[in-house]
Amino acid sequence: MKKIIVDNLKYRYPSAQELALKGISLEIEKGQFIGVIGPNGAGKSTLCQALVGLVPHFYHGAYGGSVVVGGLEVLKSEISALALKVGLVFQNPFTQVTGAKLTVYDEVAFGLENMGLDRAEMIERIDRALTLLDIYRYKDRNPFDLSGGQMQRLAIASIIAMKPQIIVLDEPTSQLDPQGSEEVFRAVDKLKSEGMTLVMVEHKIEKIAEYADKVALLSGGELVDFDRPIRVFSRPDLERFGVAAPVYTRICRDLKIKDEKTGLYPITLEGAVAAVGSLE
């Protein structure tokens, strides 16, 4: 089942001269985890905002083509209707946390209170979201007393509690320590196994190589490639688009170690270990 269908999407911000997205087309299946990569200015965040409807409903500007998420056509749907289908996790958790609530628990409850859920359902959803992101033990803390990493996990928990079918994450781990990043990726993996569809913009290329089902490579507002990570990262021209391949791939390329049949390079630690064999 297709959860996201983007068809020839073109978009220009109101004050801009140039198109931020120049005719993007891609289809994402239910339960897939898509990594979006590319240099700054490639259109990655704009694409995220188009998936959740902030483009064009909030930013306005010139819009062409269509985006359908969870069966709703974005252009013809209210933001409030879209919000039940697709949630957005921002880069900076400080802009996501409301500031209106005094505890982590109430922060997650905030989004649910507007949905008219009964109390038992709310409690169940909040507990599950806090546990999934491993922040249940901070439930009575003030959100602003959390570290950056804990706060980002709170932002994700608040979205997850609303049970959207799709979650879009725009560089969610950029402020996190290695352990925090790994926790976010594991949580995303868990959500995926429960059938949720995930789209994540991320510069941590080794993590994308490990976890994503497919990678969308954007450059200059165009979709350069949309394929399995191993195929995208094996492209000899990847650096030209402002993206470095995973370190494992770069090493194997320099050592000319590839799969002879497919011509593809290892992209993960395990893949590189198997391919390199031994050093001594």
Partner: protein
Amino acid sequence: MNSSIVVEDLHFAYNKGEEVLKGISLVFDRRSTAIIGQNGAGKTTFAKLLKGLLKPDSGSISIKGIDTKNTTAAGLSRHIGLIFQNPNDQIFKSNVLDEVMFGPLNIMKEEKRARDLALGALEKVGLVNELEQNPYDLTLSQRKLIAIASVLAMDTEIVIFDEPTIAQDHRGKEMIKGIIRELVGMGKLVLTIMHDMDFVAETFERTIVFSQGQVALDGSTREVFTQEELLKKAGLERPHVTRLGAKLGCSHTFLTAEEFVSFAKKSDHRGG
């Protein structure tokens, strides 16, 4: 040699009874230094103490012979520059050039000299064509570069970066790596707080690990990344290439992909 920064038995708490820093003693020489550790380990607090924005509860910090307790952050600002993790905490002017000129003007540089310093710094970060822009019309990664330029323009002997590569793409990271190397080449003391272990391994001579308000490890970057168990205890991972070498059973601690490749090529030769 007169060490730039001497920290002795530093203790600090935001709230009474909850110490964030629990007895830090460090001497910083001219080696470029990375400070790594989990979120909440006390790294940013430490940077703010060095900069004089916070004062020690006990113990002392001396910056070029000046005890931070006896001076203000303003008094230290000609010696030490701090680039905040979040540029929005730092930027307040309505155009890029004014923002970057503010620092040098504030430490009594003449208008013309301040302008030259600002332009030089903006050139380094690739924003010299954005002088009239409002920083808030630019992207987060560009604002981070403005914050970096603002501190570079002050031409201080000590520069502290708090997570400089956040929101930067591959090109931006390489640019920041180049800036750090250039500052080190100019004889400045560069301290950097960061989570990107690959970047740390490629860039810094010395690495210090903070864990729960204490120094858990301190040594050359290679020595520190050899300590797998202690790093794990501090909640940290080793760089990707280091892990690859270890997984392959190699006793050498690799810090860069280039090192690994040349080692592998040599060992290939030996094996015939």
